[in-house]
């Protein structure tokens, strides 16, 4: 498939799912009524307009943003580490970002200034990516990467559970599921504005890496001789993915497998060129999370089924298949 055609098709898919996300909800609102309420707003205090603009619009926007962030960071990590198993959820970035966010909320730091919450998640994510890149390294085997990821995930998850269990608020302990599985239920425009700046920053760091990642497919020495500054690229990768994953996790919890599945499905379609895979994965990730968020509302409209449940149902068998293939190819 030609690249512009692919991007166009993915864009249409995201647009369609975005519209569907706006139209799905426990309150039955007619198609034309909801769209006109969304666009024209209606009279002040019109309940349909409030639902469309304050409940459904932020949910759909966050679905697209979080999905794009996860897809993009997954594609970038896989490209840089040249490892098909790298993914923010699997290597512990999401869990560490969740720990950063939980610590910020429970200590009250999140209320200190506007962006304190996503920045705390970013710090958690940076620390874990640094640790993983140091442990696995550009030439590290898939085994080391996954083992390090398991350890970081388990540690961050345990610390998150510990902090929430020690909270004097009994509702906090129930939140563990949210931080581990992710949800977009009852988020507001406040969360959109919290996540948007850091996601934009992260995307601005990652998207220009495409050419460097292309060169890196030839190996590090070849890339260096082509003028790619590997040290700088590594720094941009660490900060960029941490900003993307941190912002996404701070508002939606840890949603796994998006960054794994999407680049793999799209890789053959872009001729395995990382520079093309990056934007395609961002769109694909947005489509996957939007679809999952529509599905949780259709499957269990009256209870907050977590997004991570659906992405894992799709992603985990996929992951097993990848391990199988990796093994048979002797990597």
């Amino acid at each position: 498939m030609k690249f512009p055609v692919l991007i166009g098709a993915l864009g249409l898919l995201v647009a369609g799912l975005f519209a569907a996300s706006l139209l799905v909800g426990p309150a039955a609102i007619g198609l034309s009524e909801s769209l006109s309420a969304l666009i024209r707003g209606g009279a002040d205090g019109d309940a349909v307009a409030v639902v469309m603009r304050e409940v459904r619009l932020p949910r759909a926007l966050l679905g697209a943003m979080v999905g794009a962030a996860l897809g993009l960071s997954g594609a970038a990590m896989q490209g840089f580490l040249r490892n098909p198993l790298a993914e923010p959820g699997l290597i512990g970035t999401s869990a560490s970002a969740a720990l950063g966010a939980v610590l910020a909320i429970q200590t009250g730091f999140a209320a200190a200034f506007t962006l304190a919450l996503p920045l705390s998640a970013l710090v958690g994510a940076v620390l874990s990516v640094l640790l993983i890149v140091a442990l696995a390294g550009p030439r590290g085997s898939a085994l080391v990467l996954i083992l390090a990821g398991i350890a970081v995930s388990a540690l961050a998850g345990a610390c998150t559970a510990l902090v929430l269990n020690l909270s004097p608020n009994p509702y906090a302990a129930a939140e563990i599921v949210f931080w581990m599985m992710g949800s977009l239920a009852d988020r507001s425009m406040t969360h959109v504005w919290l996540a948007a700046p850091l996601m934009a920053l992260g995307a601005a760091m990652i998207l220009p890496m495409g050419r460097g990642l292309n060169a890196l497919t030839l190996g590090e020495d070849a890339a260096a001789s082509l003028g790619v500054a590997l040290g700088r690229m590594r720094l941009m990768l660490v900060l960029g993915t941490a900003a993307l994953v941190g912002a996404a996790t701070a508002v939606a919890g840890a949603i796994g497998f998006v960054g794994l599945v999407v680049p793999h499905i799209l890789r053959p379609l872009v001729g395995a060129l990382p520079s093309r895979l990056l934007p395609a994965s961002a769109l694909g990730g947005a489509a996957m999370v939007l679809a999952a968020d529509i599905a949780v509302r259709l499957i269990a409209p009256d209870r907050d089924l977590k997004l991570g449940v659906l992405t894992a149902l799709v992603g985990a068998p996929f992951f097993l298949h990848l391990i199988w293939r990796t093994r048979s190819e002797g990597i």
């Binding site: 409030v50 639902v51 906090a172």
Partner: protein, 295 residues
């Protein structure tokens, strides 16, 4: 031998209590009563003779949940574990029917009589609960007196504020979007106060999740939220969602002391009086509309 007989007798008495029968006339009232449930804590605090109650649950001492936390604080607390309760050598354990079945089974196997009280979901249940607690503790006269006073107070409250035809619509909204329908104690108190229940309109008759967008679309006159823990939890975020505070939303928010609505005790009258006052304020002719700055 005698210990066995005593235990069997106690077991039978416990069984009788479980079945809702009063202790046979002449049977000795229990002398060491341990309560392991928030609501039996409060009923026992109201009804038990001095020295009869030896321990209440830790929830009964939690000021966020218990309307009688200060009185409960004078008693040693238990966490509702069979082991610690057994070691208190109770001759009667008071429990709910809802969540502690494993503990209750174990205590009964150990020969400890247990009286279980079901959750209260109406004002009639409330009276029954008080009477049953009186029977369980051998304090029937006190219980009857409390019921009589409750009925008198309720009648007085209804007389001063008769429910009119205008029934403003209210919703009870708790963390995680939890709401209570008409077949719950809080729902019954809401109805007694002359308020229509938005959750019931949405088909929620017991307790359950009321989606934020359903609540907004129902456009209630009053959104009542309970006490909040000062420490943050995502579950509480929904109570501050912009969709509930947008436009005129803030004006119809109200905080109630939901501790008075959790258990079937005469404390519900405090909540009822509060709700009646809110209903009267809503039903009163609206003051001249304020001119909004920058309108």
């Amino acid at each position: 031998m005698s210990a066995f007989v005593r235990r069997s007798k106690a077991l039978l008495a416990g069984l009788a209590l479980v079945l809702g029968l009063s202790a046979p006339a002449g049977a000795e009232p229990p002398r060491r009563v341990v309560s392991i449930n928030l609501c039996t804590d409060q009923l026992a605090l109201l009804i038990a003779a001095p020295g009869q109650l030896v321990s209440v649950s830790n929830l009964g001492q939690d000021a966020m949940l218990s309307a009688m936390a200060d009185r409960a604080a004078a008693f040693p607390a238990n966490r509702g574990q069979a082991e610690e309760v057994f070691l208190m050598r109770p001759d009667l354990v008071l429990a709910g029917t809802f969540t502690t079945q494993a503990t209750v089974d174990l205590l009964q196997r150990l020969g400890v009589p247990v009286a279980q009280f079901p959750p209260v979901s109406s004002l009639d249940d409330l009276r029954d609960g008080i009477v049953r607690m009186g029977a369980a503790l051998g304090r029937e006269a006190v219980a009857d007196e409390i019921v009589a006073r409750f009925d008198a107070d309720l009648a007085a409250l209804s007389a001063t504020a008769p429910v009119g035809t205008a029934r403003p619509r209210a919703a009870l909204y708790y963390p995680n979007g939890y709401s209570l329908g008409d077949r719950t104690l809080a729902g019954q108190v809401l109805a007694a106060a002359g308020l229509a229940n938005v959750a019931a309109e949405a088909g929620l008759h017991h307790g359950g999740h009321l989606a934020l967008e359903q609540l907004v679309l129902a456009d209630p006159d009053l959104i009542l939220t309970g006490r909040r823990y000062p420490t943050p939890a995502r579950a509480q975020d929904v109570l501050d969602h912009p969709a509930l505070t947008a436009g005129s939303g803030a004006a119809r928010r109200g905080n109630i002391d939901d501790r008075d609505l959790i258990c079937g005790t005469p404390q519900v009258l405090k909540a009822l009086a509060d709700l009646v006052a809110r209903r009267q304020a809503l039903a009163a002719p609206a003051p001249a509309p304020e001119v909004e700055a920058g309108g």
